[in-house]
């Protein structure tokens, strides 16, 4: 679960990281009031889950109410690479002497948390990591012990932090690790971590990803993230506990198990088709869940044909067939379906479908055959202008 900058900064502040005073607003009027409260000059910052906000005109300095009004008006509603700005963060502007970089993340390969620090902060950190990796300090932490103050200080020294701010950087690293540890984050990143002319160390930006599986420990974090920019179908799927990701093609896909669904997308693409979605109906899907899944897939107008690819383990093929029959009874889909059922109770499932004689439902006996058939049908439907 990815957090907006201001949400990340609120978590930072909770764990003692220094951030500027600010307010989140959703209108020009609120922006002007907030700017007075935090004190001029202020920075008006678009709150969207995508990088490069500055270059897209989503971050502007304002010295007075007129400028705040002008910038807030322009940035609200701005489309930054597909993300519409619904929220602004109005922050007291900071003077910057130096820009550093700091992050803590889960290193899946080492199976330990990794702290990264560099004195070359700013937007080009990825490039620096590639071209001059020696400018980044990487330090694995023993997760059973946590990051000690001494370790953090050593990271600051090894990374070449200015002498007079080493202590401040160490404090910031300890606090950032605490955010990662205590909030069940998978990533906590500050870029830039700035040093002010007064030699204060401060987080000027925040990128935090929280583990959705750990939210039961953090009820206060439940409602974070960028809900306004979520795809409406994806949001509905989430409410129903179904894994759905919208894609750009025209072939709706339903399968069981993430690996098999990913594989289905691949096989459809190899057959010359373009998947419209990823949908994992999960293990043990019953008829009702399958019906809901069909509704989700067809909520996307781009869908011209649908492929059901089921290999039943816990999932029973007869339940899938019942769900499809129930869905056809209520929704009466206008597009063709290709259904491939294998695994637990497959014979019963296929028999149910045959007996139901659903209009425009084709069966396939293998995954490859199913993919070829659905691609062909999608082309026909598209050609017929449906």
């Amino acid at each position: 679960m990815d957090l907006l900058e201001y949400q990340g900064k609120q978590l930072f502040a909770r764990h003692g990281l220094d951030v500027s005073a600010g307010k989140a607003v959703t209108s020009v009027e609120e922006a002007v009031v907030a700017a007075e409260q935090v004190g001029y000059p202020v920075v008006v910052k678009a709150q969207v889950l995508i990088g490069g906000r500055g270059k897209a005109g989503g971050v502007k300095l304002a010295a007075n109410p007129e400028e705040t009004r002008e910038h807030a008006g322009k940035i609200l509603g701005l489309d930054i690479r597909g993300h519409i700005v619904h929220k602004l963060w109005i922050e007291h502007a900071s003077d910057i002497a130096t820009e550093y970089y700091a992050s803590v993340l889960l290193d899946r390969s080492a199976k330990q948390p990794l702290v990264i620090f560099s004195t070359e902060g700013g937007v080009e950190i990825e490039q620096i990591a590639e071209e001059s990796p020696e400018k980044l300090v990487r330090h694995h932490v023993d997760s059973l012990k946590g990051l000690s103050r001494q370790e953090a200080l050593q990271i600051a020294i090894d990374g070449g932090a200015d002498d007079d701010v080493r202590e401040g950087v160490a404090d910031a690293l300890v606090a950032l690790y605490e955010v990662w540890d205590k909030e069940d984050a998978t990533l906590a990143e500050i870029n830039p971590l700035i040093v002010t002319p007064e030699r204060q160390v401060k987080a000027l930006d925040a990128k935090v990803s929280l583990d959705g599986n750990a939210l039961f420990r953090h009820p206060e974090n439940q409602d974070l993230s960028d809900t306004e920019n979520e795809d409406p179908i994806e949001r509905k799927a989430k409410e129903q506990g179904v894994q759905y990701v919208k894609l750009d093609g025209n072939i709706g896909i339903l399968g069981n198990g993430a690996g098999l669904v990913m594989s289905t997308l691949d096989v459809v693409a190899q057959a010359g088709g373009q998947p419209a979605n990823f949908l994992d109906a999960g293990g043990g899907s019953d008829a009702e869940k399958v019906k809901q899944a069909v509704e989700l897939i067809l909520a996307n107008d781009a869908v011209k044909a649908v492929l059901f690819n089921i290999f039943g383990g816990i999932t029973r093929c007869d339940e899938v067939a019942k769900g499809l029959i129930a869905a056809f009874g209520e929704i009466k889909p206008a597009v063709p379906f290709v259904v491939r059922l294998d695994g637990t109770n497959d014979v019963q499932g296929r028999t149910l479908l045959e007996e139901a004689k659903l209009p425009n439902v084709h069966s396939a006996s293998t995954m490859n055959e199913a993919a070829e058939k659905v691609v062909e049908l999608a082309k026909q439907t598209e050609g017929a202008g449906a």
Partner: protein
């Protein structure tokens, strides 16, 4: 022979009194697995169709000496159940539970490494392990598999069934099918299981089924080049998956190639591993290689 579960398995199940836990535990027993007990705090003294239930792993160990634990408890209790089973002396722990917090997985992995180096964890979020004709621990639909000489290791459950079924239809069977799970911090990696299949006399060919994310497939490629003499056929799912909503730069800095399917397939092919482009092609390559190496298919 087979790997990890066989006729010597003595299984106890955490969460055996739950609906899913009892269904699959009894399914495993019907397959022939020696199910000796179950653990549910507060329900000690009860039984599930004759299987004695204990309050703790220590009690279960004292009364029934299980050597294998299956974890079927809800995600928030799973980490502690795994560590409790390890502390009681269970040497193989298979965690089926899906949705365990990543930080809990990290704590479990590093605690086992430090305090119980002899304990092997497979999973979590995995379908379990099946050695056809011998024992089944988990939720793999056993009826689709026959005994034979193909070892299968996979991050995905249903994809394993798909590939295993195609191999079975071609007349070949499996020594063992091991699901390692798709979570960020799995207890066992591809490398751990490859090592077991390499040492297993029954296994003549290994099928490795991976997917996007992380670097486990790249590490497997390195290990195969150095230490595996048996033929390996691989499959990677996720070529058309859109890049995950990656946040910040830290993920890209660590994974380099960002764990794409193409990068993984290249890494495996660079070490001489044949990579099938569809599950069907994987099965075809496997069957073709087996046909060349043994005179008659083993059913």
């Amino acid at each position: 022979m087979a790997v990890l579960v066989d006729n010597d398995t003595r299984l106890a199940v955490a969460g055996i009194t739950g609906r899913e836990g009892s269904f699959h535990a009894l399914n495993n027993r019907r397959y022939g697995t020696n199910l000796v007990g179950g653990v549910t705090p507060g329900k000690g003294g009860q039984d599930v169709e004759g299987v004695p239930v204990f309050d703790s792993w220590a009690d279960a160990m004292q009364a029934t000496q299980p050597n294998t634990a299956m974890i079927f408890v809800p995600p928030r209790f799973a980490a502690d159940s795994i560590l409790e089973a390890a502390a009681a002396g269970v040497s193989l722990i298979i965690a089926i539970t899906e949705g365990i917090p990543a930080h809990d997985e990290l704590r479990v992995y590093n605690t086992l490494k430090r305090d119980h180096p002899g304990t092997r964890l497979v999973g979590p979020n995995c379908p379990g392990i099946l050695s056809p004709g011998k024992a089944s621990v988990g939720i793999i639909p056993a009826s689709f598999f026959t005994p034979g000489n193909v070892g299968v290791v996979s991050r995905s459950g249903t994809l394993t069934y798909q590939i295993g079924n195609e191999i079975a239809q071609a007349g070949f069977g499996c020594s063992s099918i091991v699901g390692i799970g798709g979570d960020p911090v799995p207890g066992s990696s591809f490398v751990d299981i490859l090592e077991l299949f390499q040492a297993d006399e029954e296994t003549e060919l290994i099928v490795l089924s991976g997917e996007i994310g992380g670097s486990a497939e790249e590490e497997a490629a390195e290990y195969i080049a150095e230490s595996v003499t048996k033929p390996v056929v691989a499959y990677i799912a996720g070529f058309t998956a859109p890049p995950g909503k990656q946040m910040g730069h830290a993920g890209a800095i660590v994974s380099g190639s960002a764990g794409t399917a193409a990068a993984k397939a290249r890494a495996l092919e660079a070490k001489g591993v044949r990579v099938g482009r569809t599950p069907t092609e994987v099965a075809e390559i496997a069957v073709q290689m087996l046909g060349a190496s043994s005179s008659s298919p083993v059913r």
